[in-house]
Structures are given as C-alpha cells and as structure tokens.
Amino acid sequence: MTVLITDQAQAAMDGAAGAALTVNGLTKHYGPILGCQDVSFNVAPGEALGIIGESGSGKSTVMRCVAGDQDASSGSAQMSSVDGGRTDVLTMAPSDRRALRVSELAVVYQDPSEGLDLAVSAGGNIADRLTAAGWRNFGQIRERAAELLDRTDVPLDRMDDPVRTYSGGMRQRVQLAKALANRPPLLLLDEPTTGLDASVAAGVLDLIRDLLEETGVAAVVVSHDFKVIEMLTRRCLVMHRGEVVEEGLTDQLLEDPQHPYSQRLVGAARG
C-alpha cells in the first residue's frame, strides 16, 4: 500500500534538526526495577507522535521524565523552544523545569485530579496557568478562559462551578482547555481518554484531534489503545518491557507490524 508521508513526519524521521522535542537514550530505573531503557525519539513542530504499549511497558515513565514529574536516570532531552535546543532539559534545575511546565509544555493526565485543582472552578484552573505565565488582567483572563471552555465544549454557565462537580468527560475537556491556555509549543497527553465511556471518549478524541490541527502544537500521545493512536498520530513507537521495540508510521505499523510483540498488540486490538 502507498503511505502518505507528510513533510513533518519526514523531517522528524530524518533527524533531530529543528525538532520540537528530541529525546536521546532516556533511561529510568526505580531501584532495581527498570522503568524504561534507552528510549530515543523526536517530534517535529506540529507533529503528533504516539507511544503505545501495554500497562507497565514504560510509556508513562517516558512521558513523566520528559514532563519533569520524575527524574530520569540517564539520557537527554532537548526542546527547540528552550535555548534553541542546545540545553538538556533533564539536567535543568527543578525550579527551571517547573517554569518550563508553564511556558514551554503542558501535560494532560489520565486522572484529571493530577492536572486540575478539583476544588477550584474551571475558570480558576485556567487562571492558574495564565497567572503563572504572568497574566495580570482579570478581564483578559476571564475572556481567554471563556474562549477556551467554549472551544472545548464546556458549557459556559458551568464555568464558575468547582471542577469536582463535573463529569469525567468534562474534566478532561477542562484539562485540555487549561493545557492550551497560554499556547505552549508542546503538549504531552497521557492516556487522555482512558477511563471514559466509549461515546464520551470519542467526543474528547475528536476534540483533541481538532485542537492539535488548529493550534499546530507538537504532541506526544501516550496510550495503550490503538484506536487513540490511530486517530491522533501519524507516527508512533511501540514499547515493551521498557524498551522501544518498533517505530514507524502508524498506518504501516497497524497494517504490517514487524516485531512479534507489535503483532500480538495489533492482533489483540483488531480482535
């Protein structure tokens, strides 16, 4: 079959030059237990890269190390938006890394309580990110929050209710709105639809796909679900027992998996 290779994907496959995110040899040990081993990839600006694997395969570890939730044991990561890609963000001071979490990247977690303060309203959660980014005008914050919530299909009359009172799908939409509030160049999505029922998950997925296209944000999508990866990404990695076992265009990988584990994974997904 013919596969359409986009310029972005081609650029990302060619090498790290100009990549929004470049990860090299990322390794994480939890004591004697291996989290992930020698993981390398890069994401072009505006590209969405998928990481797929079963529970415990190390895909979330990779994401958390890049996001700064965990310290990597070894390896490096560069972002083109940080010092032109010359600085290894993994070795930056914890305070500088937290600052990156506001200006340069955003994370959407499977569990909304990790990304949101459930006791605070949806608008307040968005204000959290905006004020951290230096916004100090109440009217502008309010306007931007309403614009984002409207875009993510959160009813505006619920905008001032605590997120605790929201349904699971709505919470994920608020997380997305908050993540994109100050237009960071990189978005990390960790199982963004896991735990939502099928119809709600489909709606959130549609929204994520549209937002990725509209905003041109580079994204890493971590999921155990091939449907999610297929819908959101053109290129993906397959992880198994902490290592990347296969890498390629999502369509190709689904049609013609090479590694035995990928074959099992695709076989299971295809039923």
Partner: protein, 302 residues
Amino acid sequence: MTVLDVLPDAATAAVLDESSKREVRRAILTAIAIPGYQVPFGSREMPVARGWGSGGLQLTLAIVGQSDIVKVYDQGEDGGVNAANLRRLIRQSEGVNTTTDPREATVIQTRHRVPEDTLQSGQTLVLQVPVPEPLRGVERDMHELRRMHAEGDYSKMWVSLYEDLVRNGVITKTTGYPCLVGGRYVVATTPIPRWDVPPLHQAEFLSLFGAGREKRIYAIPPHTDVEPLTFDDVPFQVEEVSTPCRCGLVVPDGDRQSYQVELPQQDGSSIWACSDTDWCSRQRVGAGLLDPATLTETEVEL
C-alpha cells in the same frame, strides 16, 4: 567564657535573657536583609500566652535600649487590657519610658493597626502576627509552601483572588491583605485593615512582624515597595466609611483622614469612631471638644 559571664546578673534576670535577645536580633537582621522572607526563630515562652502578642513582645524586648520610648496599643486603643499589660511589662522589665503618642515613640508595638500619624525615619513598628503565612489558605503542605516562596510561584494566590472576584464581584479579603514586598516575597500584612496597607509602601520607618506561636519573624525595611496583590484592571481599594467620628472628622469627598470602627452602644444603636484613640483624642483637644487635662491623667494612670 560566654557572653553570659560578662553580663550583669540583671541582664539575665529579665523576661527575655540577653542571649535570647541576641538570637531574636540575628533573626531580625536576616529578615531585614531579605524583605518579606519569613525567618524562623526559637520563640521563647513569654509571660503572655502564644497568640496574645508573644511574637511582638519578643521583638520589642530584643530591640529596646535604655533611651527608647515605647508605645504599645491594641486595635488602635492604648487603653486595651492586653496593650496596657504588655506596656507595663516592657517598662518594668527593660526600664524604658512608655508613651501613648506615636510621634514621640521610638518603638511602637501594635496589634492589627498602623498609627494614623505618619511615622518617621528612625521609628520602628513592631506588629503582632497571628498567622505569618500568606499562602496558608491556599496550600497546606509546608514543603510545598516553602517551594512556592522559594520560586516566587504565587499563582495559587492569584487563583484565590480570581475566584473571589468571580464569586463576589469584589476581592473580599479585608484584613491581612496579601502584598508583594520588594517585588519578591508575598507577605501577610497581619490582620491590619486595608486602610493601613498604603502607609507601608516606601515607608520611612522599619516594620517588624513577629509571630510567637508560629515562630516566624519578617520585616519590611524602610523605602521598600509594598504592592497589594491585585489585577491590573481591578484597583486595590481601602475601606470606605462615610460617617463622621465624634471627634468631628468629617469625610470630605471620601478623602478620609482616619480609619473608623463601629462602636455598639447600650441602647442597641452604634456610632462610628476613629480606631486610633490617641489620634482621636488629639483631634478632639485640637477642636476644643476635649480638655487636655484628661489626656494627661490617662497617661499617668497608664
């Protein structure tokens, strides 16, 4: 040989011994060097219960010398029981002179007010602080609080102001309004009313904040910026009371000269009066409403 050996016995027999005073002074120096930063100190047991001015008392005892004149007042009132007792304690323990007139005092210990008179260079304001942590209401984890201060990460405070505005249309925080000191640390301005916040900005005097129960000291040195946290399009406002005080101070077009409090009366009604009693008395004497002799008597009695 220690410092105790060279000191006369009287010095160690005081409410606060000399080595404890030195520790408090070291904390004060650190606090002045880092405006707004909460310096931990070994808060001693005082003859007043913690939460009743023990922090302010330790600061005052540590900084006064023989030539100082001390004023202690409580919610603007010199005659309050707690203020009168603290004043007597300081006078007896340190042998200093006391006064009710903030213009002649060198050290002014206060609970929840800043004098209406503009304080001058060389004067020190000692504030009694119940809760020194401005972020206590938005974050409970002590380690997280330290991180937030260290990194100047005050977004949670901004979120609470945002939520307040959304819910109530105004920022409802009345006393202890959070302020950014020297462009770096957010502090709790103790429970002083908003009215008293502007005098702290670029002040001539030194402000010391002591929290005995929480064991923290912080400071606003002279000529330091004190900016109330507020959004660009939501101006910071002080309390508005338009009723004249019995001292005759009427509010000319909102340009009020004194912070006023409501005093309940026997018959169930209430009147508004200047919170700063010494200031109010002087106004009334000036307007011929009060016999200056009664002022002197009050002073002697104190």
